[in-house]
Amino acid sequence: MKKPLEPQDLLIRIMRISIMQLLLAAVFVSFSYATEVAGQELLEKRVSLRFEDKSLKAILARLEATTEVSFIYSPKATQAERHTSVDVKDKPLGEVLDKLLTPLDIQYRQVGRQIVLSPKITAQSSISPNATTTLLRAEMVDITVTGKVTDENNGGLPGVSIVVKGTQRGTVTNEQGTYSLSVPEKSPNGSAVTLIYSFVGYLSQEVAVGNQSSINITLATDTKSLEEVVVVGYGTQRKSDLTGSVTSVEEKDFTQGVNNSALQLLNGKASGVQISQSSSAPGGGIAIRIRGAGSINSSNEALIVIDGLPGATTTSISPDDIESIQILKDASAAAIYGSRAANGVVLITTKKGKQGAPQVNYSAYVGVQSVAKRMDMLNTQQYMQVLNDLSVEQGGQPKFSPQQITTIAAGTDWQDQIFRKALAQNHQLSFSGSSDKSNYYMGINYLNQDGVVRGSELKKYNIRLNYQVTPTDKFKVTLNLNTNRTTNQNILTTNSGNENAGPINTALQFDPTIFAVKDESGRYQFNPVISLENPLALINGVNQNYVNNRTFGTLAADYTILKGWTTTLRLGGDIANDRSDRYISTITQRGLASGGSGNVDSGEDTHWISELFTTYNHTFNGIHQLSVLGGATLEQFNSQFVGASSIGFLSDATLTNLLQSGDGDRGDNVSSGRSTNKLNSYLGRVNYTLKDKYLLTASIRADGTSRFSDNNKYAVFPSFALGWRLSEEPFIQQSNIFNDLKLRVSYGQSGNQAIGNFETLQTFIAGGRAVLGGGLVQGVEPARIPNPDLRWETTEEFDLGLDFSIVQGRISGSLEYYIKTTRDQLFNKPLPTTSGFQNIRVNFGQVRNQGMDLMLTTRNLTRALKWNTNFTFSTLKNTVVDLPDFISQVLTGGVGFTSNYSIVREGSPMRSYYGYQVEGIFQSTDQIAQSAQPNAKPGHPIFTDQNKDGRIDPNDRVILGSPFPKLMFGLDNSFSYKGFDLNVLFTAVQGISALDNNIVESLYPINFDRNRIAEHYLDRWTPSNPGAQYPSGLNPSSYGGALAVNSLTVTDASFVRIKTASLSYAIPLMNKKIRTASVYLAADNILTITNFIGFDPDANSSGTGIERASYNAYPLNRTIRFGVKLGF
């Protein structure tokens, strides 16, 4: 039987071919639209304002607080203390400003979201309304305007762009700063002709031409734009001065969705950064990979720093409290974090109180989630038919009689039984404000997400307080405090099979002829030969709860010793208490066997940090800018846990709340543990800028850790970076192409100390429990052969980057190339086990990641209809360069009953999938006789005999795919028109593979009665279906076992996903009490286009590890959210 091609499949097939083209087309289309000039939508914002006899300053402050504009003005020049009155209702801002400022002889112009006020200058003053009228009536003739543009020092400014507003007509100034431009006497729409003078680093100016034929102007330095600062390790830096690879994502650009982890906010927003959700369960794991993975055997997780606190978690925080996230991608940017920075650093900065009137913001959404994709298993009728066919073809009797098949009707779809539509809701309330001496921000968050699998739920409560007080000009105290409580109810998720499998595994494979009702004795029914628990018994009979209380924060005191010299003392703490409970009740077979089994684990983790650092900034002779940082830190991590378990309970009713009611004789078990590790570090950094053109950054960090022996207590991580702002050079300015152009090159080292405690010490451990005298007796054993020479894994990275901005900043972005090499890999060197030890930790081996990161922002339409595009693109090549001579290759990986499916070997990506290539299906016995599989049967897969030795053995295994994406894309388009905002985000990965163990268990069922994936058996080989895609399914173990890791089970996991789309509408303000109001409708995980059969190509059953395998993944949620945002 061949499955008919359904319309959806057709669509998918078409999309598969064209998705790349689509992506590229979208980007290029956006360029072609990118020609129009800036609009004045800000000035059309409607405001209501009523003041009597108030200072201009106060009125402007109120406007700032209510409209999100900011005013830039010199209080002196504009005489801002002057009192005036204004009374407008629901009028455009522009009109209000005219009304307010004209009587005061103040003119204004808009620069980005800022409005610059200045006293009217008669020579260049706007033409009076009467003159405009006159002009309107005049004939359309071109006049020539000449003039000179100068900077504040009266020097001619070359390369200044001059454009006739509303047209594409324009020119640039020559080397002397002079220009000549022919302009129409009036503009096409009849309004006054205005010239826009713009130049990077300077405030643009608009000048109405009127009847002038010569216009000389002076451009003022745009200090704001030059000084857009980003947070870097231990400080901030002007964006223009950055020399390392730092990607900054602001709140407005965060990826929306039912987000539990701050990392989800970055999905698709930063090139070279792969965010994947290893489990879609509420509270499931999120993995971040910055520029691939460098460590073979240690962690590849990035270091998270929240408001200066390293080692923080991204889940115990409200995403709504976050102002911006910076990703330090290259080693030169990350090196200041030394031995924990090898996998990149994510800096999270939370919100602060803003200047102006106190603000109250409330935002909330309610979402309905459903399973985005189910596994298409055989339905009951198909199941019975397929099993009958297989039975007969294997020489047996049909398993089901025709009568049974008709009476059973629909049977049970077990996925229906465990999946549900689930609600998610999120509420965030924040208060912020500021006064002369202090500012505050307080955020309160509640997230409640029910899972789409019954019995799973996440609840999160979060309170944040950020408070900053400056008692004197020189002294500042900052407190950032976050407290969080998370409760998480989980389904049983496990990589074990058979009786120990979780409900998702069993729901896929359970017998569909069994009804989802309890039998006479009140028990869920099961098929005794299937070796699987009833899925509903697992949902209802396994109770797993996790509670985490976590409080963390920093308290910092800054003291300015001299102008430009500040010292900071920062104390940080992170206290986490958690408890997890698991009870397996007698509803389940397993629980019944043990009389119920319960265990409780509880632990406390603390982290303390004390940092003292000092910074000095000074500009010498106006051209040498120097910034120096030096500091020292002490850190301590403590961890303690206690666990208890019992079995044979008096009753299931008490769950884990009465462990002492268990059978004390047989099953009581207790455990506890404690460990600490400490760090002591010294750090320093120098930034030097010459003439705002030539940039140098050098940093160094020396880290010492308790985990290493005295031989290698400290390690030093240096970095160097150079930047050249080419756009400051006359020869680039003349070319008039670039508004901004910077070339940067950097080199740095960082480390990975992610090894366990005690690895350099010889100790004895509790190990080996003997059964003696009828009970268990604990023995003691030596723990290891210590290696006192153990040291850090070191990552060296070279990065070449180009930042650019063209067409008046309408197109901007950065392009980077990097090579990252991680050496001194921590390896378990296998020992001859005659020593009683299996291995010893050593440093050896090298892995290289190289690739290209591109980020592109285009403002395609900027008038009433606005369209912005953000495009991220990155390539990645991961290669194992060098392995120890004692390990030619490492076979690894284990999921379910499938093991050793991935390989680490020189020249290939780390943990590549390794197995047999299937090249077809045997059709005839003749074909078999001539093959390398003489015992095969027609319908069995043909494995490629790679070495042509006439037999299929482990030497015929080849690399079947890589766990790293070759390419990653993110494409974010946002449109806005009159209060409506539409945002659509696509994400995609390409060139990544995954082993799907559910496919393994479908092609090679563990026992005959298990259900299988429909596609595999509706298009299986039979003599009458010789063109089938899948093998016959007869005696599958004869072509399974170790052969099961093959190109049928390792499949392409590339995908393109419409990650999220949202449409929001800003409600026009009805009254003054509400400052802003908007509503939105959003959908997440709308569509995933992939060849992958499983629930989610992005899922990873090995959690956040590198070797990806899909197995019983918690299904991806498709969510429709309705939200509101209110500001008071």
Binding site: N498, P528, I561, L562, T567, L569, R590, L592, A593, S594, G595, L612, T614, A632, I647, R666, G667, G673, S675, T676, K678, N680, G704, S706, R707, D710, K713, N757, F758, L761, T763, F764, I765, G768, A770, V771, L772, G773, G774, L776, G779, V780, E781, P782, A783, I785, P830, L831, P832, T834, S835, G836, F837, Q838, F886, F897, I1006, N1007, S1037, G1040
Partner: protein, 486 residues
């Protein structure tokens, strides 16, 4: 003004300095250990020595790993037992079909487990003399126990691999030992076992520890398997002369939990229902077999060849431990021996380990006998036959076992040649010890392991009487020579 700034400056410098003080020395970064023990403290007293000894015992006990050790490696390549179904099938098939290779995880895990036992015993032997407080008698006993553990671990590996490196130190200077010659190996192990037997008490404080009988029984079997017939016969006699052991009257109930403290078991791997347990029964229950709610029935099925079943005397009480039919949970009567046309199904089930009523899931509490008294009797009978040919003492010894099984005693006159009695002994041992992991060594000793496999249609090669050394071991140790043929 300047003065004020200098004051501030010095304040900062002082503050910075105070940060650095704790790091001036490396005390701050000294690693603190809370959950492990410093060797220099731990091994200084008798209690520490006792804990290390327990650690050594724990590795010698192959309870959790019985299906790999006692079945996959020791019965699946023989004429008794096969396996099908479950995920275990793919691991079992190479051993059923004589297609194993050096990469087998089962070979490696038993190798590692035994060498960890050796290491732990060596830790004790190297440190015990530093502890002056132990009275001489106990000192000798601890040493003897460690010697027993070490040499029994070697003997265990010898059955699979032939002579393996004799590692007698915990020094890590030379981690690449070589294999001794066969005679060096045999000499060392037998000397050690004999020495241990001398210092071991007749009865131990805790059931499961090695006593005099245990060491002598292991020695008997080691002599027997290395065909030192006279020594084997003598050692067996020594065990018998301890007057400690006798046959349990009802063979069919011998393996039940309630009878495990008996006088027949000499050396056991003890098991507990909460684990480590005897996991045999979940593999023996046939499909839909009515089991207690606290039991479990695995997909992996351990089956008995019909041909083996048919060699039994129908009156043999030992046959009662094999089931050939049952009524399943749906009320259907299932036959396991043959189908309606008389075709053998090879699907009878050995229920030797009477299911433990209080088993917890797969873990049954039935202790696993490694050597029991019946084996000592039959070992002496075999050794005497090899020395003298058929003789009355051998017949008498065999008849003790037969009588207990309720079958007719043998007559000396029935056996005219050594070979004839040897052939019978192999049968008798099969009837007596099925499901006890002895078949492979018995068939190898009696020379039928390969020929019988060939008769069953397997492509067995003579070199397969030894397993290959684990591949990872060969790769890690350049001095280690692989067994021939692999």
């Amino acid at each position: 003004m300047i003065m004020k700034n200098i004051q501030k400056l010095s304040l900062v410098v002082a503050l910075m300095g105070s940060m650095l003080i704790p790091t001036g020395c490396q005390d701050y970064l000294t690693e603190e250990v809370y959950t492990q023990y410093a060797p220099q403290d731990f091994l200084q007293n008798e209690d520490g020595i006792k804990k290390v000894l327990i650690g050594a015992y724990s590795r010698l006990q192959v309870n959790g790993g019985m299906r790999e050790d006692q079945f996959t490696l020791s019965e699946f390549p023989t004429d008794m037992t096969l396996e099908s179904g479950g995920q275990f099938e793919k691991d079992a098939l190479p051993f059923i079909n004589f297609q194993w290779d050096a990469s087998s995880g089962f070979l490696r895990s038993i190798w590692i487990q035994m060498y960890i036992a050796v290491r732990n015993a060596n830790v004790l032997l190297e440190n015990i003399d530093n502890v002056k407080s132990i009275p001489p008698a106990r000192l000798a006993q601890y040493k003897a126990e460690a010697q027993f553990i070490r040499s029994e671990a070697f003997a265990h590996l010898y059955r699979y691999f032939g002579p393996v490196p004799l590692v007698l130190t915990t020094s890590t200077e030379d981690l690449q030992p070589t294999r001794p010659t066969n005679s060096e190996f045999i000499n060392f192990v037998s000397t050690e076992l004999a020495a241990a037997a001398k210092d071991l008490p007749l009865k131990q404080d805790l059931y499961g520890k090695a006593d005099k009988g245990t060491s002598l029984a292991v020695l008997t079997k080691f002599y027997l398997n290395t065909k030192q017939w006279q020594k084997a016969a003598d050692a067996a006699k020594e065990v018998m002369d301890l007057n400690k052991y006798k046959l349990f009257p009802e063979i069919e109930n011998l393996f039940a939990v309630q009878n495990e403290l008996n006088n027949e078991f000499i050396y056991v791997y003890p098991c507990l229902a909460q684990g480590p347990g005897n996991v045999y029964m979940p593999h023996a229950f046939p499909p839909n077999y009515p089991i207690l709610s606290n039991w479990i029935n695995y997909g992996a099925q351990f089956r008995t060849y019909t041909s083996f079943y048919k060699t039994f005397d129908p009156a043999d009480r030992r046959l009662r431990m094999i089931i050939t039919e049952y009524t399943d949970t749906k009320g259907v009567k299932q036959k396991l021996l043959e189908n309606a046309t008389g075709k053998p199904l090879d699907n009878a089930r050995s229920f030797k380990y009477t299911p433990d009523p209080s088993a917890i899931s797969q873990n049954n509490g039935n202790d696993i006998p490694v050597i029991r008294y019946a084996d000592i009797l039959l070992s002496r009978a075999e050794a005497l036959n090899e020395l003298q040919g058929p003789n009355q003492e051998s017949i008498t010894l065999i008849n003790q076992v037969r009588t207990r099984a309720g079958v007719m005693p043998l007559e000396l006159a029935d056996f005219t040649t050594k070979e004839a009695l040897r052939t019978h002994l192999l049968k008798e041992r099969g009837w007596e010890f099925f499901s006890e992991g002895k078949r492979r060594e018995d068939m190898i000793r009696m020379g039928t392991f390969i020929s019988n496999a060939k008769a069953r249609g397997k492509n067995a090669q003579p070199f397969q009487v030894l397993y290959p050394l684990p591949q990872a071991e060969i790769e890690a140790n350049a001095n280690l020579k692989q067994n021939e043929g692999y």
